[in-house]
Amino acid sequence: MIKIFKPTIFVLCLVPFIIIAYQILFNKLGAEPVKQVTHHTGEWTLRFILLSLAMTPLKNITKILAWIKYRRMLGLFAFFYGTLHLLTYIGLDYQFNLDPIIDDVLNKKFIFIGFAAWILMLPLVVTSNQKMVLILKQNWKKIHRLSYLIGIFAVLHFIWLSKTIFFEPLIYLIILITLLTLRLDFIKFLLKKKSVT
């Protein structure tokens, strides 16, 4: 099953990239093209972060181990879209003008936290392969707990850039809180108890 599923999901994960590439090439981005690319890549980064964070709770709830096999791929796609998002901001929006970018990172909290989220992804990417899991052993788990922080930073990034209280950032916040709550020990305990009885 996994042999068919994994490539299929890989291709599905590329669909947002194919959509935006098509829109760029065929000039279908509308009134504010740069903003459109920024939003699209940013939104998908957040979705992939939440998807990767959903795998462990799904494993625990469904008692199906296979979910875990997709966690790394989804996390790497989060990094892929996050990098596109960052490059859009640096390259397309500010045309590699570093002064306003540095100014933004230091003075605007939503940009600071977004940038911080991307930086925190780097150690996870570097340690994502099987070899690193074996080398790092228990430390691997500790390092990869950074993903919770990345999730929180990414949602804050979205909330802080919104002009007023919008539904979308709130929905992501609710999903994030749910996913993190499911990892709490007493919740896990309750879930286990329920499945036993």
Binding site: A31, E32, P33, K35, Q95, D104, K108, L161, T164
Partner: protein, 305 residues
């Protein structure tokens, strides 16, 4: 920072205007109604016309709007305002005046001829357009009433109609939308009441039937679908001031030196440009400093943002 300078060839193509005039003619012949009642002056321009930047394509000016009464996404106003009824429509001018009046939009249009004003429009979010509005100086309308000595500010209230305006069913802002100007700002010849754009009737998504345009201020100051103009003694609290007082001030003059707490206002993105176009520098008072800087002599614009 590298900035895009417009070549003279990029300024409004003549064909655009020819098409527009033809359109007006057609409107007159075909429908013979609504629009002919609007007396349009295109020759008597009482302001410096736009020469540096090209006019934003009509498509973008009418499909990329912030109008939360119809939804918070930029495309919502165009989609959700199609059936919005703007006729009949009364505007009440009251408050600290000796003779409050209520006028229908038709009466106002017949009383005061509209002229074309090509203005830059700068949104607080950091994007801008150049729009050929049809309208008249607000002072021509305000002169119909006699303000008392107490009147210091003018408060604008937009329509409240959650049945027709989906966005008003949610507490995104404290509805109805409220905005305000100091009397001297409201009386300034650049401040206009808009009845149309691109030689056409004002589309619903742009604030039909009557909206304000204050070109040296961020776009949200220019209230749409106005039903009440009130002379008041105290500085009105606008909907955005109420929502986030440290982000949106009463004055909200376009100012590249005063950043929004969450983003810079030094540059802006030009709507309708392609994906590789750089941002352009934002000008003080949106480029209307010669005309309006005097209104703020001696004021600390960092404090009075």
């Amino acid at each position: 920072m590298k900035l895009h300078k417009f070549k003279s060839s990029e300024i409004t193509p003549e064909s655009f205007y020819i098409n527009r005039r033809e359109f007006l003619k057609k409107m007159g012949i075909v429908t013979g109604t609504a629009f002919t009642s609007q007396n349009i002056i295109t020759s008597a321009l009482s302001y410096t016309p736009e020469t540096e930047r090209k006019i934003t394509p009509y498509k973008f000016a009418t499909t990329y709007n912030n109008y939360y009464e119809f939804g918070t996404s930029k495309s919502d106003p165009h989609k959700n305002s199609k059936d919005f009824i703007t006729n009949p429509w009364d505007v009440k001018i009251d408050g600290e005046v000796e003779n409050e009046i209520t006028l229908s939009v038709e009466e106002i249009k017949n009383m005061i001829p509209s002229e074309e004003r090509i203005y830059r429009f700068r949104c607080v979010e950091g994007w801008s357009m150049v729009v050929p509005w049809l309208g008249f100086p607000l002072n021509k309308l305000l002169k119909k009433v006699k303000p008392t000595s107490k009147a210091k500010f003018v408060k604008f209230t937009s329509v409240y109609d959650p049945d027709q305006m989906k966005g008003q069913r949610f507490p995104v802002l404290n509805w109805p939308y409220k905005e305000g100007l100091r009397i001297d700002e409201a009386m300034h010849p650049l401040t206009i009441m808009v009845t149309g754009l691109y030689g056409k009737e004002l589309p619903n998504q742009n604030g039909a039937p009557l909206r304000l345009i204050v070109p040296w201020k961020y776009g949200f100051k220019s209230a749409k679908a106005i039903v009440n103009i009130k002379f008041v003694e105290k500085m009105p609290v606008s909907s955005w001031m109420n929502a986030s007082p440290n982000e949106y001030g009463f004055y909200s003059n376009v100012n590249p030196n005063v950043s929004h707490p969450r983003w810079s206002q030094a540059t802006e993105r030009v709507i309708g440009e392609n994906i590789y176009s750089p941002r352009i520098k934002t000008l003080m008072f949106n480029g209307y400093g010669d005309e309006v800087a005097g209104l703020y002599d001696g004021m600390d614009l960092r404090k009075n943002f």
